[in-house]
């Protein structure tokens, strides 16, 4: 026990580094790393797959058999239909008290050193912090069963018998684990979600929003305004609760903390962003990143999130990272890739077999759209689209040539409005172009710089709900913004920011006995689908391991600069 406690304490101090060394050979001898590998991936110390005997005599192996599959990465469990998957965090299983603050954070020292000779103020402060955690745990229900020890844990895992001697639900597999594997797993379970996350202090939770260079000042301001207003609003509500708590009249105890918003502006080339993020995080660690904005690839921020295990909630990223197994970033959608795939599907399903040409420029968003379209179109038809790559803003002559080039061509323009300032030839009388498709993300919705023409040739890939439909649904969100004195200048930007802030608040409010970053992401997996009245998307949903909330798009015909004149040409396409 003593040895394991020592290991656990060392691990608490070095956990972030442990995460970084995941999978490396050097970490293999470390019981916590071994335990984590069993827990998360279902891989035994020998390298073989974990095997569990599940319900209905089914044998589960590897990832399917892994604890994290049902108990989740945070250990807090979940519920699926009739099955309640219990919490198996360290405090839940072993009854250890949750460390209320991360080592090194403000106030942590006070908690650790409540010794004789400490001033009364310090002692009172330490007592208040400790009391908060204990009270919360008591109300949280994670201690509604007797604690486990090594022997009862081994019995639970091997025989499916719980600490009271009762058989557990058959959905919990039985595992024939070797003693050394059990020991490592037990060591890992002892520290699982047993400490508060960085970015949480005695009375504050720190958040940041990341803004890439290339974002205009008006957009930046609009984003920050919505997030800060949400947070101020939330903090106002807290002050009352704290007073009630002091007066002893709060019945349901929560860990009320003030939220603080930091703005992490990135500058310069993207190769340097990782370092900038680390520096920001070093100066003031944050619990999570909320919203954010960038037209270039989100990769450096995505990788920062994975490496430092910092959730990033619904950033407004035109070029998200498409990854199968990453955890910490929850995207609004697949961005440019979604647009491209939806368009390819639309054109193919509509029977478009004529020549298709795409025009792109050398920036990441444009290139991402073009590449995804090239792939999807080639896969669907066997033929790659024609392409033109722009190095500078094209003049009228360029567009006249395109308009005349091929009879009945379908044009896909991955371009912002300024590139189309001289493109009148495309919709002119002599144009032989069949239809022109534009990207909503690269334009400001229907404000594309390409005037709608009478023949309905100007079309938009529109990965949002139709304005007429979402009008009613967003009434509450819009009214909130209005009541706070925020002018709606960029509905998509502002509502997406409000969405990100609100769902983060919702997920955090479900916290049990500690601020767990993994639990935040898992709550979103489970609950994001219920937040549709805050969203410009017809339907957002996630699930275990899913990270792209909105999965479809419309193709619409542009009727003018007003959203409301968009005419749908398709159903909601899910590529």
């Amino acid at each position: 026990m003593g040895r394991l406690t020592t290991i656990a304490l060392i691990a608490l101090a070095t956990l972030p580094n442990l995460a970084a060394a995941q999978g490396a050979g050097a970490a293999d001898a470390d019981p916590l790393a071994i335990g984590r590998r069993i827990y998360r991936e279902g891989i035994l110390p020998s390298g073989q797959s974990l095997q569990g005997l599940g319900p209905a005599n089914v044998t589960l192996t590897g990832a399917q058999a892994a604890c994290a599959t049902c108990h989740r990465r945070s250990g807090y469990g979940s519920s699926e239909g009739p099955i309640e998957v219990r919490s198996i965090t360290g405090p839940a299983l072993f009854g250890s008290r949750v460390a209320p603050l991360a080592p090194g954070s403000e106030g942590a020292a006070a908690v650790a050193t409540a010794q004789p000779g400490t001033s009364p103020a310090e002692a009172a402060r330490a007592h208040a912090i400790a009391l908060r955690a204990a009270r919360t745990a008591a109300f949280a229900g994670t201690r509604q069963r007797p604690v486990y020890d090594e022997a009862t844990l081994a019995r639970a895992i091997r025989e499916g018998v719980d600490v009271t001697g009762r058989s557990m639900h058959a959905a919990m597999p039985r595992y024939a684990l070797e003693p050394s594997a059990l020991e490592s797993l037990s060591a890992y379970l002892k520290v699982l979600s047993a400490q508060a996350s960085p970015g949480v202090t005695e009375d504050k939770v720190h958040f940041a929003t990341v803004i890439q260079p290339g974002v205009g000042p008006a957009q930046r301001r609009a984003l920050i305004e919505v997030l800060q207003t949400y947070i101020n609003d939330r903090n106002q509500g807290l002050r009352t609760e704290v007073r009630r708590e002091e007066a002893g009249i709060v019945r349901l105890k929560r860990t009320y903390r003030e939220w603080v918003l930091h703005v992490w502006d990135l500058t310069g080339p993207s190769e340097s962003w990782g370092r900038q993020l680390e520096a920001y995080n070093q100066r003031q660690p944050v619990f999570a990143l909320v919203s954010g904005l960038g037209h270039s690839s989100w990769r450096p921020i995505h990788e920062f999130s994975e490496r430092f295990e910092v959730p990033c909630i619904l950033p407004q990223a035109d070029v998200p990272v498409l990854a199968d197994r990453d955890f910490y970033t929850v995207y609004i959608s697949k961005g440019m890739v979604l647009e491209a795939q939806a368009l390819a599907k639309f054109l193919h399903d509509e029977g478009e077999r004529g020549p298709v040409m795409q025009v792109l420029r050398r920036d990441e968003a444009s290139a991402a759209g073009a590449e995804a379209f090239r792939r999807a179109w080639t896969a669907a038809t066997g033929a790659a689209p024609l392409e033109r790559l722009l190095d500078e803003v094209p003049g009228a002559a360029f567009w006249e040539q395109i308009a005349q080039q091929t009879q009945g061509a379908t044009l896909v323009l991955w371009l912002p409005p300024r590139d189309m300032a001289k493109a009148q030839a495309l919709t002119g009388a002599g144009s032989r172009v069949k239809a022109i498709y534009l990207s909503s993300s690269l334009n400001d919705g229907p404000r594309t710089g390409l005037a709608a023409d009478g023949d309905g040739r100007v079309r938009l890939i529109y990965p949002q709900d139709l304005p007429a439909v979402r009008e009613a649904r967003l009434d509450v969100a819009r009214r909130w913004l209005r009541n706070k004195g925020i002018t709606l200048t960029d509905e998509k930007l502002q509502l997406n920011a409000y969405l990100a802030a609100t769902v983060t608040g919702m997920a955090v409010s479900h916290s049990i006995d500690t601020y767990s970053r993994e639990f935040l992401v898992e709550r979103l997996e489970h609950r994001l689908g219920t937040a549709n009245e805050l969203s410009i998307y017809p339907r957002m949903s996630l699930g275990p391991g899913q990270r792209y909330a909105s999965k479809g798009s419309y193709i619409v015909q542009v009727g003018g600069a007003d959203d409301r004149q968009l005419k749908p040409l398709s159903d909601w396409i899910v590529p």
Partner: protein, 207 residues
């Protein structure tokens, strides 16, 4: 027992009552909460009932993105087994599909005409391509098809078979089987293992 333990028993009993009809074979709807709490942890039981369902007139899509008229698919006289899954489901579906995969081998020759159908209840994530990749592990093919569709159509199908529970995370283990068109559906709520499903199928198949 100390106070905490009996609180847990009451909690379990309450949760149990909500799930009683689905998880306890042959259990009467109203019975002693204590007995209930004792029986709750098992979960290897299932409940069998016989129902009449009207197959909705919708067009779904298989793992090759081909349209499938559900009514036509289920209009034949070949026996069918149906379950409802989603590819990112981590607790219930891995078990359900593994059981399905094992059923033909338990039936042997009797499985000749059996068609198995797994319908996704998370159609926006479970595109045909996603289903294809998921089903590769289980031997999807002519005899076992994975279907998806438009969100509204999938909801319609779930409602038609009395399995719509709102959010997909509320779904419950369910297998349906029917010998031929016009016959009733046998509904298996809960986790039935391959032998049990095979046995139920043989009951159904006896004319």
């Amino acid at each position: 027992m100390n106070l905490r333990s009996s609180s847990r028993r009451r909690w379990l009993a309450a949760a149990c009552c909500a799930a009683a009809a689905l998880l306890h074979a042959g259990a009467a709807p109203a019975h002693d909460a204590k007995q209930h709490a004792a029986a709750w942890p098992a979960g290897n039981q299932y409940e069998r009932s016989v129902r009449a369902y009207t197959v909705p007139d919708v067009v779904l899509f298989d793992a090759d993105a081909r349209p499938v008229k559900l009514r036509e698919l289920l209009a034949s006289d070949e026996p069918v087994m149906v379950n409802f899954i989603f590819t990112t489901c981590s607790t219930i579906c891995p078990v359900m599909v593994k059981v399905f995969a094992d059923v033909p081998s338990r039936l042997g020759a009797a499985a000749k005409d059996l068609r198995m159908i797994s319908i996704s209840i998370d159609p926006e994530n479970d595109t045909p391509a996603q289903l294809k990749s998921y089903a590769k592990n289980f031997g999807e093919g002519k005899h076992w098809r994975f279907l998806t569709g438009r969100v509204d159509d999938i909801k319609t199908v779930q409602r038609a078979f009395d399995t719509y529970r709102g959010d997909k995370m509320n779904h419950e283990p369910l297998t349906l089987m029917r010998y031929a068109q016009g016959k009733s559906w046998v509904r298996i709520d809960g986790f039935a293992n391959p032998d049990e499903l095979a046995r139920e199928y043989r009951r159904v198949a006896v004319p």
